[in-house]
């Protein structure tokens, strides 16, 4: 584990922002931190970044209790992000890299590599004011990763990116993960979660309401539903199965408790020519909505 969050509580004067949060974030994986607005994601991220301190609880970073020396090993791209407008791109990145503990010469050589990689060589002396929003996003991304952190925290990294740059960013994130960096991803966009994340945690009302490895979580929320394509006529009733919808070629079935897919198939092939038999995996969008609604109702 690169990061263990244990029983973290954070209270603001009016409300409890984090209520005994426990999370384990495995090394060199992409971890999705999900949750509706105001659930406590930003509070948690700020605590990990040591911008604020928890009221109680413990955070273990790379085997040691989290302490100020660790800030240089964390890279943070906040959701609301900006740059010094009047400063030149190169000077600005150099400054931010040095604030993360890099030496000047080291920072310059690393920044050069990034400028070449992202094809922005001639930006070094441009003031940030002259850059388009997408260009500024690239600059901010470089600032987040140039010091090669062990843990990269990205809060809605894709917001504001056009599809081409978003793709580029996705590739860079995957490449960084391959090099052994852990990525903590905070987002609302479920398609990126499904595409990129290995593990997820869902926070709602200051609590972790769902956590685990991505496929395992999806399995947990499977409802034993299958989609079939077939030729022939489906009987109106099937043993131990419920026909949820049917249009003569496609049907959705819900298998009863205790019925295996093999049993279902053997029954179906007695009635129709089965062309496809596919389990319906719940989308994270559905899981998200379902869990949030359940916990809201519980509240």
């Amino acid at each position: 584990m690169i990061l263990s969050i244990r029983q973290v509580v954070k209270k603001y004067s009016e409300h409890l922002a984090l209520d005994h949060i426990d999370l384990e974030i495995p090394r060199a994986k992409i971890f999705g931190l999900l949750g509706p607005n105001g659930a406590g994601k930003t509070s948690l991220i700020r605590i990990i970044n040591q911008i604020t301190a928890p009221d109680s609880g413990q955070i273990i970073f790379d085997g040691e209790p989290l302490s100020p020396k660790h800030v240089d090993q964390i890279g943070y791209l906040p959701e609301e992000r900006g740059l010094y407008k009047k400063m030149k791109v190169g000077d600005q990145l150099l400054y931010l890299a040095q604030l993360k503990g890099m030496s000047k010469s080291e920072a310059i050589s690393k920044l050069r590599d990034w400028f070449i990689r992202l094809d922005i060589k001639d930006w070094w002396n441009k003031p940030v004011d002259d850059l388009s929003k997408g260009m500024q996003q690239k600059t901010q991304f470089i600032a987040t990763v140039v010091h090669e952190p062990k843990l990269l925290i990205l809060d809605e990294p894709f917001s504001g990116f056009d599809p081409i740059n978003a793709n580029m960013l996705k590739d860079e994130i995957l490449a960084i993960k391959e090099r052994g960096t852990t990525i903590l991803f905070s987002t609302h966009r479920m398609e990126t979660v499904e595409e990129l994340c290995n593990d997820i945690a869902l926070i709602n009302h200051s609590r972790v309401v769902l956590a685990g490895e991505k496929e395992e979580v999806q399995n947990r929320y499977k409802q034993n539903k299958y989609r079939i394509r077939y030729l022939g006529r489906l009987p109106a009733e099937l043993n131990g199965m419920e026909i949820l919808s049917e249009n003569g070629q496609l049907a959705t079935l819900k298998l009863g408790v205790g019925m295996s897919s093999n049993q279902a198939i053997s029954q179906l092939i007695g009635h129709v020519e089965l062309l496809e038999f596919q389990e319906i995996i719940p989308s994270f969008n559905d899981i998200f909505i379902q869990v949030v609604n359940e916990t809201n109702a519980y509240e």
């Binding site: 301190a53 009221d55 100020p68 906040p78 992000r81 010094y84 407008k85 400054y95 600032a143």
Partner: protein, 439 residues
């Protein structure tokens, strides 16, 4: 620590590289030099000797009566009607006619000029005529010219400061006042100027949203401290530039004028040698500049300079930390206005109090004004040229440091919460609550 240095460096360099910094650094010395040089230049311009033709119908004036360093008089005779038409063509700047009954009728003097030559010529002609008329009238009343001369006494007092151990230094209270006034004004302007620069820097970081990135690398207090020190160093750099440039410019203009003054003097001596003594005693009162020079000689310059730098830097730190707290609580400069007045009031108040302090530097008000941390930077600097007991200075300095520590504690707590607070209208009550937030 290293990170604070980086922040100081950035704050300093970005500001020093700005055009506005150089404009204000250059403009102020030019302005000061101009304030000091233009009156001299104007005075010298007037000292070009004017030639005046004079028609004295009363016959009271002799050539020796009409001596002035700026005007050369030439007696003439003829008809006023003709002379007033011809003086200009003869190369005179003016023509003066004095009526026969000038003693009885003081309005019987006419000055004709080709063009408007200004007040100073009119003044010197009138003064000469008036002196003679008075002298004649006194003589008629039975007072001799010797008695008259002997009553024309100029009082020029010398103020001497006597310390308790009996050491005497000649001082000038007028000069001390000027020095005090200048230092008070400079502190007033720079406290406001650099304090609000810190505030705007904080607002810039907050509104551009770079703040969250920065404070994930450094602690908020490090950023705050780095910014305050960086901007403060910009202020010191500006002082240094002002001093060096002002001294340089005044030296250059001084050299330039020095030559001209000498030329003028020889010219004056040429016109009139016997009445030299008269000229000197008629000379103007001591100029403010020479008063200041006198004060500079009689005061302890290294001590004043050190105290000035101390009061500037600590006073600036105190106020700029408060300005920073305000900047952190708001999202735009316009929103800040409703809070800045509370920080500006003590600065303005201490400047107003300084006016009283200057009048009476040992009064009770002056004492307290120079002790209370908020008003002490300006008021103590205003008192210092007049001389302040060491214990008062030490007490005032210690109180200022304590005041700074207190203010920076309050400010740092507001700042830490404020920089991350968006989309919330901040009230005083809210700011008060932030003081007691944990973590």
């Amino acid at each position: 620590m290293n990170k604070i240095l980086l922040i100081i460096q950035r704050e300093y360099i970005t500001r020093v590289l700005k055009k506005s910094f150089w404009i204000s650094s250059l403009l102020a010395p030019i302005l000061i030099t101009a304030i000091y040089a233009i009156p001299i230049w104007l005075a010298m311009k007037d000292k070009e000797v004017k030639r005046v033709e004079i028609l004295d119908l009363s016959g009271l004036w002799k050539k020796s009566d009409l001596v002035d360093k700026e005007v050369e008089f030439v007696f003439t005779s003829g008809k006023e009607q003709e002379l007033k038409m011809t003086f200009a063509s003869k190369g005179f700047d003016a023509f003066v006619s004095i009526s026969k009954d000038v003693l009885a009728n003081p309005n019987g003097v006419h000055i004709y000029t080709a063009k408007n030559i200004g007040m100073s010529l009119k003044g010197s002609v009138e003064k000469l005529i008036q002196n003679k008329v008075r002298q004649e009238l006194l003589l008629k009343a039975g007072i001799s010219s010797q008695i008259y001369e002997s009553t024309q006494v100029n009082i020029d007092s010398k103020t001497i400061t006597v310390s308790t151990d009996g050491e005497e230094t000649s001082s000038s209270s007028g000069g001390a006042m000027i020095l005090a006034g200048i230092m008070g004004l400079v502190l007033y302007v720079t406290l406001l100027l650099y304090g609000s620069q810190v505030m705007n820097g904080v607002i810039e970081e907050k509104s551009s949203r770079i703040i969250e990135v920065i404070i994930s690398s450094v602690k908020p207090y490090q950023l705050l401290l780095g910014k305050i020190i960086g901007v403060g160093l910009v202020g010191l750099t500006q002082f240094l530039l002002w001093i060096v440039l002002t001294i340089g410019l005044t030296q250059i203009t001084g050299k330039f004028y020095g030559k001209k003054v000498k030329n003028n003097l020889t010219q004056i001596q040429k016109i009139d040698s016997e009445k030299q003594s008269n000229l000197i005693s008629n000379g103007d009162a001591e100029s403010p500049m020479s008063e200041v020079t006198k004060v500079l000689e009689s005061t302890n310059i290294p001590m004043i300079t050190a105290a000035f730098l101390f009061y500037f830097f600590v006073g600036y730190m105190l106020y700029s930390s408060l300005f920073a707290a305000i900047g952190s609580a708001v999202e735009s400069a316009t929103e800040a206005q409703q809070f800045t007045f509370i920080v500006m009031i003590p600065i303005i108040l201490s400047f107003l109090m300084a006016q009283y302090t200057m009048q009476d530097p040992d009064s009770r008000i002056a004492f307290w004004a120079s002790m209370i941390p908020f008003t002490s930077p300006i008021n103590m600097m205003v008192r210092l040229p007049y001389g302040v007991p060491a214990w008062e200075l030490i007490l005032s300095m210690s109180l200022l440091v304590l005041g700074f520590l207190g203010c920076s504690w309050v400010s740092a707590r507001i700042y830490r919460v404020g920089i991350l607070m968006y989309g919330k209208k901040v009230t005083w009550k809210e700011l008060g609550k932030w003081l007691f937030y944990t973590g």
